[in-house]
């Protein structure tokens, strides 16, 4: 028996032995979909629901920006009459989308609700989030004597717009709301001294604090009360954070999610399973546990994409965001993919062969052709990746399940 075969067999036995003892960890590769544009040179994806419907905006050939709905096809969400620009930012489980319609250089934004090919004007504010009950959050601008033209976090529900109190400063912004009507965003503090992540509980502002630094901002919240955003650390660097708040809005846990390099990271979205997405060092990242990982290492290396910012993730692990597609700024959709390395539709011994070739043990796998073998979320191809592979093994000729890793 050739030495290589002996070594390969020994490695297989070792791997199998480890499988019996190593804890299961997650891992994921993705296929990437270019959502296209409305005719102009750029587009960005911002929100996704469980039906894989995407909210975002795109440039038109006339250089204006329009919001879009993508449901497999890109649909133009035109501005309201009298406005020239629109952006769609969020979509809920019912397919209701919210966003803004405006004129560049204007002081007032117009809130829009898009649903089933119809648009509704909600009022003069700039929406950013919507929950499954149709509550919309954002910010409303108004003149206040002595303060000037100020932006204030607001909620719109059942035809009523309510402006929320701040943490003492003049300005505040609401970015997301969960099923318990807990609203998150940012507020200036007294004397405009700083900006803190804020949670509005029963419409009352609660300071979520920071990771030790001066400023913070909350970007999203799920129904479990997990909040993500960005905070300055004690060293002054902006880091993505994950906080947990209880039903009273009190912070019960804080976590610095780390970064991919460059000293900074921002978390923009979180799903019901606690999976977080964002950007770090101009690379889209995913976080479930441990350290964030670069989503660029989880897509085919020949895709033509540089994924810049992951903006949202649904409970199926599907991710939307902004990136560079062959050098053009486009919206992307990442779909979980089984480790079908040879692309024949199944996950079998042939695919396992690729995993073996890429096996790196405790050493970081730096070969880009092997990044698709990094199944467990770290930078080494080892027994833990084999574990994930085994979860996805479908057998020769048996279609692979895209979500086998979840």
């Amino acid at each position: 028996m050739p030495v290589e075969t002996v070594c390969s067999n020994v490695r297989r036995l070792m791997i199998l032995a480890v499988l019996l003892t190593c804890p299961t960890t997650w891992g994921q590769q993705f296929s990437v979909v270019d959502l296209g544009t409305l005719g102009g040179p750029m587009a960005g994806g911002f929100g996704i629901n469980a039906n894989r419907f995407v909210a975002g905006y795109s440039a038109l050939p006339n250089a204006s920006f329009h919001g879009f709905l993508w449901d497999g096809t890109l649909h133009d969400l035109a501005p309201l009459a009298g406005d020239t620009q629109s952006h769609s930012f969020a979509i809920n489980a019912l397919g209701q989308m919210t966003g803004v319609s405006y004129v560049l250089g204007g002081l007032t934004s117009h809130a829009v609700l898009w649903q089933q090919n119809a648009s509704s004007y909600l009022g003069d504010f700039a929406p950013r989030g919507i929950n499954d009950a149709g509550m919309v959050v954002g910010c409303a601008s108004s003149a206040i004597n002595g303060l000037g033209w100020v932006d204030r976090a607001c909620i719109y529900s059942n035809g009523t717009l309510i402006t929320l109190a701040t943490l003492g400063g003049s300005f505040s912004y609401a970015y997301d709301v969960n099923g318990a009507n807990q609203i998150v965003g940012m507020s200036y503090t007294t004397g405009e001294a700083g900006r803190h992540a804020c949670l509005w509980q029963n419409n009352q502002p609660l300071d979520l604090g920071t990771l030790g630094g001066a400023n913070s901002q909350a970007c999203a919240i799920n129904n479990a009360g997990q909040v993500v955003g960005v905070s300055d650390t004690s060293a002054g660097n902006p880091h993505a954070f994950l906080y947990t708040v209880n039903s009273s809005g009190q912070v019960t846990a804080r976590a610095d999610l780390g970064e991919l390099g460059g000293g900074w990271s921002y978390a923009y979205g979180i799903n019901g399973l606690g999976e977080v997405v964002g950007t770090s060092n101009s690379r889209a990242f995913y976080w479930k546990q441990g350290s964030p990982f670069d989503l660029n290492k989880r897509i085919p290396i020949t895709s033509g994409w540089v994924l810049n910012s992951a903006m949202d993730i649904n409970d199926n692990g599907e991710i939307v965001g902004l990136g560079w597609y062959h050098g053009w700024p486009h919206a992307f959709l990442l779909l979980p993919a089984a480790p079908d390395f040879d692309g024949d539709g199944d996950v079998d011994q042939e695919d396992f062969g690729h995993l073996q070739v890429c096996y790196s043990g405790t050493v970081s796998q730096t070969d880009p052709t092997c990044w698709n073998a990094l199944l467990d979320g770290d930078d080494t191809v080892d027994a833990n990746d084999v574990k994930v592979f085994e979860k996805c093994r479908s057998g020769p000729g048996v279609p692979a399940a895209a979500n086998c890793w979840r």
Binding site: H87, F89, W149, Y173, P238, G278, N281
Partner: protein, 403 residues
């Protein structure tokens, strides 16, 4: 050529045709009227102190992607003048107070632009996230300039606000604190855009705009820039805007760009040719009182060939208000200075009352008109004496410095 490249090519051609059509249409339409009164009228009438803030240029351009090349980094300048009204005759304040700035809707940039990931490769500097080339961030303290005003330079703002919306006209809040207590505030636009429509012409299917530009540069000039990414244009081409000396024998950036493109723009037959590269068809940075009266870029800046004249000093040899405006007893720029540098009435900076270049008030955009409306109760030039004076003086208004 595969189907993907054909799809890209078709969309780009469509964009080119549509943008060309739009620019021709826009050029033939009537000028826009100045924006009406804002809803914030009179909300910031000064008390013991007054503060007026202004951007220096009326628009700062920057690149959206720096991974292959960079023309301009994120870099913006905000100025303010502080006037003490509490002692009868108003006095310009250059010390004894703290002047702060913040941009509430736009508080971070590192996640919106990849400049921080490439600043070392492009300019040889490593910057902390959200900190610009001068050490200033998007919030901070302004410093006295020694020219009767305060400034924060190099603010690294991008045209994407914190909600993800593109907004080239974000409002900055400037506050003045005395002994820790706020005594004055104002709001002014910090304009920024990355709408540089290079893709109108630089649109080879399958490659990025930047690669197309660098490849053409290599073909025309025998360089090897495509293999040296990322490329900082001002590394070779002198740029007064950045203080870049360039290299001997190589034309300055303005001359190189304008002269190289002038004959090509003429062939494209675009009336508002500036918006092909300067922001832009959507941004409409030329938005001031002159625009509302039908004067477009070429009226002041003449032609691309003139702007690209190698003998011209870019950013220094600029149009002068006095070239057109003449009025007995009025001076416009100070001798040897540009409008943006000049002062008039008792050393008040021209921009403080009139607004920034390209945004001379009243503009056609509400945000530019906000400050005047807030501090004096109406838009347009800040010409209400009691903005700074506690009562309207009885003697004639001395517009000129030194009168």
């Amino acid at each position: 050529m595969n189907r993907k490249h054909l799809a890209i090519s078709a969309s780009v051609v469509a964009a080119l045709v549509a943008i060309t059509g739009l620019m021709l249409h826009a050029a033939s339409g009537p000028p826009a009227a100045p924006a009406p009164l804002t809803a914030a009228s009179g909300t910031l009438i000064p008390k013991s102190m007054a503060v007026l803030a202004y951007n220096d240029l009326g628009m700062h351009c920057m690149g959206q992607d720096n991974s292959e090349m960079m023309i301009l980094p994120p870099y913006n300048n905000l100025h303010a003048q502080v006037i003490d009204r509490s002692h009868g005759s108003p006095e310009i304040v250059s010390s004894g107070v703290t002047v702060r700035y913040t941009i509430p809707s736009n508080t971070h940039s590192a996640d919106k632009d990849n400049f921080w990931s490439y600043s070392q490769a492009l300019m040889g500097v490593t910057l902390a996230p959200n900190i610009g080339l001068t050490g200033n961030g998007l919030s901070g303290t302004m410093t006295p300039t020694g020219d009767n005003d305060w400034a924060a330079t190099g603010i690294p703002i991008t045209p994407i606000d914190d909600s993800g919306r593109e907004n080239p006209y974000p409002l900055a809040l400037v506050t003045v604190l005395q002994n820790g207590v706020e005594v004055a505030r104002t709001q002014a636009v910090v304009p920024v855009s990355w709408e540089m429509n290079c893709q109108i012409c630089h649109n080879t299917p399958g490659i990025s705009v930047a690669t197309d530009i660098l490849r053409k540069h290599d073909q025309l000039h025998g360089t090897t820039l495509e293999s040296q990414k990322p490329v900082f244009c001002a590394g070779c081409h002198a740029d007064n805007a950045l203080g870049a000396p360039g290299k001997p024998g190589i034309p300055n950036l303005s001359s190189a760009m304008h002269l190289a493109h002038a004959p090509r723009m003429a062939a494209a037959n675009l009336t508002v040719e500036c918006y092909a590269c300067h922001p832009g068809v959507r941004t409409q940075c030329q938005r001031d009182v002159h625009f509302s009266k039908g004067y477009t870029c070429n009226f002041c800046h003449t032609s691309m060939t003139a702007v690209g004249d190698p003998a011209r000093q870019p950013w220094i040899d600029e149009p002068r208000c006095g070239n057109c405006h003449t009025r007995t007893g009025f001076a416009f720029e100070e001798p040897g200075k540009l409008f943006k540098q000049s002062r008039g009435h008792e050393r008040i900076h021209c921009e403080a009352c009139h607004g920034s270049p390209h945004a001379i008030t009243p503009t056609v955009m509400e945000v530019d008109n906000l400050q005047a409306d807030e501090v004096q109760g109406h838009t347009g030039i800040i010409n209400t004496c009691t903005t700074c004076h506690t009562s309207t003086p009885s003697d004639p208004f001395p517009h000129r410095l030194g009168d």
